[in-house]
Every structure is written in C-alpha cells, then in structure tokens.
Symmetry: C2
Subunit: 235 residues, 2 copies
C-alpha cells in the first residue's frame, strides 16, 4: 500500500498565541493546503492521504477538504506531533492501527506549504522508494554552502557540486522507518531535524529525486507573492 | 586603503552568443548594477570602486555610470577574467599597478547582481576584515542541506544549525589574498568555486558577517520580479 502524509504542522504554538498557520492562506482561489492535497488526490497510486495538523485546526482542515474536494473518502485528518518526526510517526501509528503493516508499505511525506509539487516528483518518489527503500527530493544548491561550527568563523566550504538543498517529498518504506526510529535514543531523536537523516545516519541508502526550483516552501510573506506569481505565470 | 570590487562577470560567453547580462536589466528606474554601485559609492570608506565586466561591455558600463552617477572619479571599469577568482585577481593587479600595496589594504568583493546590500553589511565587512583578515557574508541555511558525492544517493546530512548560505560581500586583506592565491597550483585554482575558499583551505580565519534574506542574487527572471517587489515594498 502507498500512503501520502501531508505535514501541516505540529501541536501548534506552545506560547498560546494562535495565528492562522500559513497552509490555510489563500493562493489564487483556494487555501495553500488544498492545492497541495489535490496534487496527491489526483494521483491514483495513493491508498490514503493522511493530513497531519495541530489539534485545534483539525476541524477547520476537515471543513476545507469537504468544501473543496468532491469525494474525500480516502483523505484522513489526524493530529500531528511536537516535532516533524513525531508528526511522521503519528502517521505511521495511524497506518499500523488501520492496516496490517508489511515491508512493502511506503509513505510519501510532503510539506503542506509546498503546493507546486509536480506529478513527476511524486511518481519518482514512489518508484525509487520501492526500488531503494527511501528517497529525498533535492535541487542542486545555487548558493555556496558554508559550514561553521561556532557560528563565528568558517570551518569548511564543501565542494558546491556535492551540495543539494532539501525539498520534500521524503519517502520511506514504513516498516524500515519505524524500526530505525525506534532503535534510536531520545537524545538522538531530538537531534534529528530531518526525516531522511533517520535513514542516512543508519547508513541506509536514500536515493535523490530531482526536485524543481518552483517546488518552493511558503514560509515568509514574500513567498506567498512569489507563489501567486508562479500560479499565474509559472516560474 | 579600502577598495570595492563589483563583480559583473568575466570575459563573456565563450560560445559567441552575446545576451545582455543580468546586471544591465532595469530594476525600478535604473540598471541593477547602478543600484549596486551606489551602495558602495555613498559609503565614504572606499578609496576606489573597481567594476569588473566583460571586455565587450566596458564602454556600456562606463556610459551607464556617467549617466547615473554625478561624480564618478573614484569608479574604475576594467576587464574581468574567465572565472570569478580571475576577475578578483584582475582587481588585485589593478590595485598593485596603481598603488604601493601594503598589508593593511583591503578589498570588499561583491556581486553586481546583489543590489540590496545594506550599509550595515558593508560596514561589518570592513570592520571584521581589518580585525580578522577576511570575511564572508552568509545567512543561516533555511533548507536542509544534503551532501551527495555521486549525485545519486545521500552521503550525509550535515547538522543544519552549522550550515550557512553564502552571499557577498567577501572581503580580504589584499596582500594575504595574493600570497595565498599565488601559492596554489593551477589545479587547485581551478577547483575553487569560491573566493573565501582561498583562505579557508589554507586554514586562514574567515569571519562570518550576517547577511540578509533580502540580499538576493538576481539570476533567474523570477528573481527580477522578487527584486522589483522588494524595491517597492521591502521583503
């Protein structure tokens, strides 16, 4: 079975200040998250699309989905976790509770605020995860990347031709993901800022899928302007 | 003495196809390169501003400068080199031929297509180059950075908190720069895609100056849209 996990944030701002998360802002005539879900919805490979969002936004997300998407039977909205990987593991738990997990099950995890994901990127994530066990979507780094351990002086400047900027999806064989994650200490888990790292630090192969410059993450207000421009005219 | 080197490209396209380089496109009501030069021109610290551009664009660049800038006596336009570092070394040669170089001379090198450089960034480049010998302007990486040696599978995912995206200026004590560069083999020189690497691979300190997200490089057509939007409304 093949699942999509749309990552729409964790349990929300712990300061208690609840702003409307970016994924609910309008892009063209519908919310960003709906654009994103649709890209997976129209792909016939997915058995279920799991949307993970903060608890207080679950109902709103469900409302949006039923308003914008005709037959939303295979779309589930559940609560995310505190950290990105907690959110992904919540999706894994949901799948385990609903189906009998086997080693062929795969999950394609994607940021809800990357609405310009293409059909090709999704297809390649599925294909190469089946083949290699895990995929990460990347583009060659346009900037020189500089490493600094103390934040004051350069430690090294790695060869630019080896450096890539991570996008999403990141895709995994679910049983392997679960096994690797559960074998890590809490300390190790807290250091992971990236899901592909669960595989890479365990020396498991992660295949690179070519992303697109247009597969932007909408984080800052100016990203939304760029996104509206991409929507109208392309990149 | 303190010099600025505005890097506006090398000797041009070796295929013989001459398109108008990006730095000459209009941003608001004047060419990108004029915005950039002005940021250095209004800073009283610079003894000379050296603009390096392809041979066939030298006259055009001079014309633009005299059209847009009132008193352009301390702005020189000279030919760039094939590679970025050749271009920087052309500036060094020009300075050597014009002045008696001493170890206090510094050069602030900057992309001509980064017009949103701020006064603070320039000031800090000067200050910390005097103090430490070299500076690089960077912002913390927003994306996860992925390293791959074969371009197919991930080799490593470095800790994101140690990773920075390089911008410009990159600033150097000139005599040290020259000495380090001349001690490198041609093979080593050809591998350098970045000027700060001349210092870092020789274990010389390169101090990090905090850049700005708005200090964008105008490379793609959509960057020019973003730039026009920054010009009007800020980021």
């Amino acid at each position: 079975m093949i699942f999509a996990a749309i990552l729409a944030g964790g349990t929300g701002n712990r300061m208690g200040i609840v702003e409307k998360p970016k994924q609910f802002l309008l892009l063209g005539n519908k919310p960003i998250i709906i654009h994103t879900i649709e890209k997976f919805y129209i792909n016939p490979n997915f058995d279920e699309i799991i949307v993970l969002c903060p608890k207080q936004w679950i109902n709103h997300t469900k409302d949006l989905i039923s308003r914008y998407i005709n037959d939303s039977n295979n779309i589930k909205v559940i609560e995310g976790g505190n950290l990105r990987n907690d959110t992904i593991m919540n999706a894994v738990k949901y799948i385990e509770n609903s189906y009998e997990l086997n080693e062929e099950f795969i999950i394609v995890t994607h940021d809800s605020v990357r609405p310009f994901i293409t059909h090709r990127i999704i297809e390649e994530n599925i294909k190469y995860t089946i083949e290699h066990g895990s995929c990460d979507t990347v583009i060659p780094s346009t900037d020189t990347i500089v490493e600094s351990e103390d934040g004051k002086f350069i430690s090294s400047i790695p060869n630019r031709q080896n450096m890539y900027q991570g996008q999403t999806p990141q895709s995994f064989k679910i049983l392997k993901l679960k096994e690797l994650y559960n074998n890590m200490s809490n300390e190790e888990k807290n250091l992971l800022t990236d899901a592909s790292k669960i595989f890479s630090i365990n020396n498991e192969k992660v295949f690179l899928v070519k992303g697109e410059v247009s597969n932007i993450k909408i984080t800052y207000p100016h990203d939304l302007k760029v996104a509206n421009s991409i929507l109208k005219n392309g990149l």
